[in-house]
Symmetry: D2
Subunit: 345 residues, 4 copies
């Protein structure tokens, strides 16, 4: 059994880690910390866990965490980087679900997250936890930076097009939409039911923090500079991200060839499902599951390829992908604990 | 492995059976029939099942069904009673999710379902599939009538009060509310998103078909006549039933005593969770799970006991309870395949 | 033109007052105050008001308010009672949408609102602003306490039954459900979209602050003691209250007679609509309008009468009713500015 | 008073016409026809109209319609073109909300609507009812083709950019999302609440019928060929369209200059609201109103201009715009009957 600690488990990625790990046959939940909720039973805060998780939140304790095989950080940004260096020294493996170790360039990080990075020496060591791209490195990593939700959907959606060098990398567009759980569990007026329901809007069009993460990832894939226009939108749904991606072909490639390239690239991936040409993935088809479903179109046979990618932001976009990384790190079957059928309807 | 057939699998209870049974370690899905969708891959209709269920819908075939150990009927009312008698003769065990065998009195059934019953001889033989009441009979039954969704929540909510004979049985009230999936998957204008969303209403106040089923069940529990006012409401949610039950004490019983009676009555029930006094069960705390969560109150210390009961109408209210019955019938661990954490948020 | 001031206009009842008053032919908006948002344009906070309301929020200024003909208080509880006495002395007429002046008994008020009442001398003077009950008194009142949302629906629903003395007043039940806008516009985790959507629950079953207000109102109508079990629920909708009311007949009265009594009692009421027997009012049928729609049933012809009442909690349950009171106070046509068709779908 | 007839008033654009016209000071509703619902009171089908509209649906009667000053067609496609020619001959003015007269090229129409056009001679005569583009022609038109919902948002969003010839017309992108009411009021499984709620998807990516209408409109504006990639999405909301438009500058134009051009172009338009730079229009800010709200961005200062445009698909995208056209045709104040504040929250 792998001894697992979770730091900052009161948010939505925390409860989602618990939902998955409480049924994982190789994971033993040892500690879940929350300074503000110390003493509270996890199941009192999250009634879905009654009968499944007996733990109480505890004050973070380095020694207790150091005794774990792996510690997940489900904290807000700027928290993990305070604690991770010490745990790294003590030999613990870390999976950070926050943004602290996703961007390799500390200055770029500071620009977008409005703070000094306190552990820049770990940025090079951290492995970006997108299994479809970095499986080997994840296997041996001590510190994994789990990708953001939008970045997961955009990178998986564009990966084969970029690897084949078929598209103009200077004018990519990602029109993405997310469920409100992606905004976390803070009492903000903007995220009230009465503000969100029966409405729709774009947000952060001038610049969203996931933009540098996505561009870094796409450049790693492409092996060269990439320019992306990224427009996120807020959906009146709880879970789900849907990215509609627009890429312009620089050379004639029939849709069937593109489709075949996607199917081949992802043939052995347990959590990427390439739908038949012309499909329209729905977010509910992945609700609660770790799957990313992708479909392709070339409207009117013109030069613009449209890629549709759907994930559950809390699963493949956060906690599920983190567990997938854990499985890879510890040599377990990659889908262990993640063989979940999406809840539909 | 238990060979399982499903008749009429295109509705919401059908896909829910598939979601559960496809991960059940002892169930082997042999056939799923649908006259109208014969030839269609199940996963093409229900994209959440891609990668989990490979079957195609087939035309119903008695010989194929007769080779199953158990056949689930997830058909509209008035269908199962045509086919079940033959399968019963051929020794197949049946779990009917429709209303055909729930009411023992054929005339009463006819009154509410506006049709002649074609297999009245089976009504006495059928066992009402509420494990908390009829576990022993279910174990040996050949024909199980799985309870309706509203009836499950109302009966579990009132059972200990009735068994203890603490309340006036002539003036019970069940104010229930259901998600729209309970209305099935037919193209009716009333159930369109644009008709349901951001609205709420009562329906069938003059008389809902679940009333005679509930009263029969409550009378079985009470051992005498019961009168219930039952008002169902339609919620703008997909899954979930919440029943607010009002009962008048005929004798002074402190709330703590009532609470203790509920906790004791359900102590060994795997799928009934009595919450601490004063809790308010949310439907999302059981979304996708087979759990029924119950809480109790005596507002202002007056004579009216208020019971709150929440289930997922498609799981404990239909397909999950049906699988629970299957487990009991075949001597499997009762929670096998049903140890699912509800999806929250 | 009537000079109108609004104190505390940043909440949902405030924006709703502005939506209505900005089109009211006899109202001139003079001031809208908010300490926290002083200087902000109202239309920047509420984009629906762009082009309709040019005002900015200002710091509350007694002299400015004293120059108004009427001042609406759309503040949280415990605020109006600090300011109202001074304005009353200066001759301003007041319509308070908060609970500060709804309950005549200062001790009872303190018990439920956990505070000392600072203006108990005004409690007797205040007129409860339910036009269907107190139209004459409202006309001459200087201080009107606009009813709460739940109380409006429950009192209008039970009024003719009580006036006719047909029911057992000691065992009334109000099973009510409200949209989330009723909880106001504070950044509370419990009211986040991700907490509310696709779920349903009861709340405050042990005792909700509207209970004493409702019982006081029902006793005024009945002319004697009343006992009500009141169970509020939270709906995943923005606007709307639906009350399902249960009353037991103490004498045989045919449903047609009850129906006729309701139709007669409300025949000249501009904002109460008695639907044909057997109807089921939907909350969306009153969304954005000041109407209360009511329907009646006697299920199975038994002794329990079921009354269904639907209002928009922000209109007839708050701001619309307050404007209706203003119209009555100033001798304007009662429906002026309120002749709004509900938004459906 | 203008005598108004409505053909096919049972759908959502029909009820929306009634909501608006029943309060229009110059409109007299004479007839509303529906073959299937003849004899039914309009308010029985649409309870929000109780007390506002007394009409019953009638079988279409040419003589009755010919006696109207204007007839609105709120029919499915392929219906108006059967009846309109006769009414045109009899001098009636027509506002068609369907697609029958929107596309000038009969062959192109046939290609997309899979039918022969039966009144091709009227296609040239019909005026495309976008007031911001064709106000003068609408004033004198006998036959107005009210624009589609998506086309309205896309054309208003791109109009100033195209008129100024600042962008590459060969690679425009419209990523649009619509509420479900846009799909009409037919009993289709795809539009059930249980299929739509808490989910999101693109649809008709290969080719949506609004594409040729939009391209025709954009080419009229640009005075030359235009290529648009148009991807519609289905939102779990009832009303609202949000279009996120991407255009590439072919010359350096600062965002302030673009902003100024939009503000100037729409300065005197009653129903186009250009928000401050950097705003994010929400669909709820126009719910129930005839307003189109637009905002502009140049993310990262790169070459791609992002335009956000929000309308209510049933108002500015259908019935409101049709009434705006009626006002223009009959020389009434353009905003008469349309000065409605959006419902928020």
């Amino acid at each position: 059994m792998i001894k697992v600690g979770i730091v900052g488990g009161t948010g939505y990625t925390g409860v989602e880690l618990l939902r998955i790990l409480s049924k994982h046959p190789q994971a033993e939940l040892v500690a879940i910390t929350s300074r503000s909720e110390a003493g509270v039973a996890v199941a009192d805060m999250y009634p879905n866990l009654r009968g499944h998780v007996d733990l109480r939140f505890t004050v973070p304790d380095h020694d207790q965490l150091a005794a774990c095989d792996v510690v997940f950080f489900a904290t807000p940004h700027n928290v993990a980087m305070q604690t991770v260096p010490d745990l790294i020294k003590r030999g613990v493996r870390i999976i950070d679900l926050s943004a602290d170790f996703r961007i390799r360039d500390a200055e770029l990080w500071s620009h977008w997250y409005h703070d000094q990075h306190t552990a820049p020496e770990l940025l090079k060591q951290a492995v970006y936890g997108l299994p479809e791209l970095n499986r080997e490195k994840i296997h041996t990593a001590q510190l994994v930076a789990a990708p953001g939700c939008y970045p997961t959907s955009v990178q998986l959606g564009l990966l084969p097009l970029l690897e084949n060098n078929w598209i103009d990398r200077s004018r990519l567009i990602a029109n993405s939409a997310s469920g409100v759980s992606g905004a976390g569990r803070q009492g903000k007026i903007d995220n009230l039911f009465a503000e969100i329901n029966d409405s729709f809007k774009a947000y952060s069009v001038a610049g969203h923090r996931h933009l540098p993460e996505i561009e870094q990832g796409l450049e790693d894939i492409a092996g060269g500079p990439v320019q992306l226009t990224f427009v996120p939108h807020l959906l009146p749904i709880v879970r789900g991200i849907h990215s509609t991606l627009y890429a312009e072909l620089t050379t004639e490639v029939p849709l069937e060839v593109i489709q075949a390239a996607y199917e081949e690239r992802y043939a052995s991936e347990p959590f990427v499902d390439v739908l038949p040409t012309g499909s329209h993935p729905q977010t509910r088809s992945v609700k609660g599951s770790n799957m990313c479903r992708i479909a392709l179109q070339r409207p009117q046979g013109r030069n613009t390829v449209v890629v549709l990618a759907a994930i559950d932001n809390l699963v493949k976009g956060a906690s599920g992908q983190a567990v997938q990384c854990m499985n890879i790190m510890f040599g377990l079957p990659e889908a262990q604990g993640l063989d979940i059928v999406a809840l539909l309807p």
